[in-house]
Symmetry: C2
Subunit: 103 residues, 2 copies
């Protein structure tokens, strides 16, 4: 799938998925992969960036099936960012529709 089209969208996906509960990186990568082709390594830079921007709190939890998992918990600031991004995404898709019509 076209790389460029995904720009910014994965960020929205990550934030949105975390609205419904804490998740760990690998889990997010798996969920997103089911709909959108991404290489696994793609997700971690996004998580780090968003964490650095204060969108997440992070904690470790042991797993019975592998190494400890790093869980991401969305913060109020993260929620704001998510809403803003979602709003821009919605606007953009609507406007592109206007522009290109049925073609």
């Amino acid at each position: 799938m076209n790389t460029q089209l995904k720009k910014g969208v994965l960020e929205l996906c990550v934030l949105s998925l975390l609205k419904s509960g804490d998740k760990y990186g690998y889990e997010l990568a798996e969920s997103i992969s089911k709909e959108i082709a991404i290489s696994e390594g793609t997700i971690y830079p996004i998580l780090r960036r968003l964490r650095d921007e204060g969108c997440f709190e992070v904690y470790l939890r042991e797993s019975s099936s592998g190494p400890p998992r790093k869980y991401y918990k969305i913060t109020p600031h993260g929620l704001e960012i998510q809403e803003q991004l979602f709003s821009e995404w919605s606007k953009l898709t609507a406007r592109v529709s206007n522009l290109i019509g049925g073609n």
Copy 2:
């Protein structure tokens, strides 16, 4: 508007707009600006790239209200690219919807 979300989309817009008839650069910039905020200089690198990839033929036509206009005429190859891009864009929007649900 979020810069990253536009990546790849402007290309789709340009190609789609040219399906309904030849247009010149400034005209495309104006049309797109009505829906999506872009600075005028943004459009020309896109046009050059797509032309280099064989999506357009180009011709000059004098204008009575300014310097000569450079018209872009989409080629069969350009049409293919447009269809492909449109298809990917449609898939992406659908899949993002799946992923983020109502949130």
